[in-house]
Symmetry: C2
Subunit: 221 residues, 2 copies
């Protein structure tokens, strides 16, 4: 667990939220992807990797923490709460196929970030009640990658989710620099991307471009 | 977490330790396998399942606990410490590809059973030092199932492991009713089996036969 500036007041910067997934990174390793995403200004990193053993994922998380922690960027592990805890990651993100948030919250230290995937306002309210730190809402747009999961919910539903809770909501699914501004306008605290950054030829430039668009709208609020 | 008789004094009965793995159970579900193994007298159950989502494994563990807990038989989850914790299982077993025991021990409640796989006395001493509750030592014999892992270490090495620690050691790998007695003679507190019980046509009878051989040697000590 790194020291997160402002984390005592719950202020974590989810605005440029990059999910690293080896299936989409065109052969580049997680470490390279994360270093470049950080260089481009990613404010939050999620490690998503279903193919590794627990030991390998643990070692990978430790390796990524050595580059995220000095930049005060939180590292969130997808699904594997045990790996997140053991590696000292900053948080865990739970999707619909992962541990139920209620069961997870009981074993997560209170200072650990708990992200939960939702696709409607009812789920959002419930996840907040169960102690989620932030929500991943989507898929906002249609996406070629199954990894973003589910039918697109659209910007209206995203806005409804954002209005229903007072924890940060991150839009996910089919988001890129072109449409990220709309996601922020809908009330999201950030844009979560996989392909738009991880599959880009120039990862750092793609992250920086996304950041520009997100910040433009955040500052316009 | 169930109440384990004698668990306060560390006395858990590992003598007939059945590992349920869907790959070897000839199409029978985990619940059926476990119910029959319990009927045959299994004293400890390990749930090993690599193919399910976290949510599915969690639900399965909860389901198995409903049959193990009333019999005061501990349910130990292989690898997935988070699932074990969230489901309220009695313990977790960590192999060489799983979380490092040292990292795991930090996040496991002290009353939870922590099993660690070892194949020599040096590892055994280290695992005991790191807080293992019991050791799985093997593969004792050659085995057709890769799930038992590793080259056979033989009865001499098993005996050496048993002498090196004062926590219970369970032999694993290629054990059946025919050779289980030798495993106990070597100093093991129990015999862990997969195929010998889980793949048997009559699971309860196979567990009962194993138990007879194990108890014969335990009583002869």
């Amino acid at each position: 667990m790194i020291y997160l500036p402002g984390s005592e007041s719950g202020v974590i910067d989810y605005s440029v939220y990059v999910i690293t997934d080896s299936k989409l990174s065109r052969g580049r390793g997680h470490l390279e992807v994360v270093e470049k995403a950080l260089a481009g200004g990613a404010t939050c990193i999620q490690l998503r990797e279903k193919e590794l053993s627990s030991r390998e994922l643990f070692n990978l998380a430790r390796e990524l923490l050595r580059v995220t922690a000095p930049k005060r960027v939180p590292l969130i592990v997808n699904d594997r709460l045990d790996v997140a805890l053991a590696a000292g990651a900053d948080g865990v993100h739970l999707g619909q196929d992962d541990l139920p948030p209620m069961a997870a919250r009981r074993i997560i230290p209170p200072e650990m970030i708990l992200g939960v995937s939702v696709d409607n306002a009812g789920q959002a309210v419930e996840a907040q009640r169960l102690g989620a730190s932030y929500l991943g809402a989507g898929a906002v747009f249609g996406t070629g990658t199954k990894l973003d999961a589910g039918e697109p919910i659209g910007l209206e539903a995203l806005a409804s989710i954002c209005r229903s809770v007072n924890i940060p909501v991150v839009g996910i699914g089919g988001i890129d620099a072109q449409n990220a501004g709309e996601v922020i306008k809908a009330g999201a605290a950030g844009a979560a991307v996989i392909s738009a950054v991880v599959a880009a030829e120039d990862i750092a430039a793609a992250a920086a471009e996304l950041k520009r668009e997100v910040q433009k709208e955040l500052l316009a609020r």
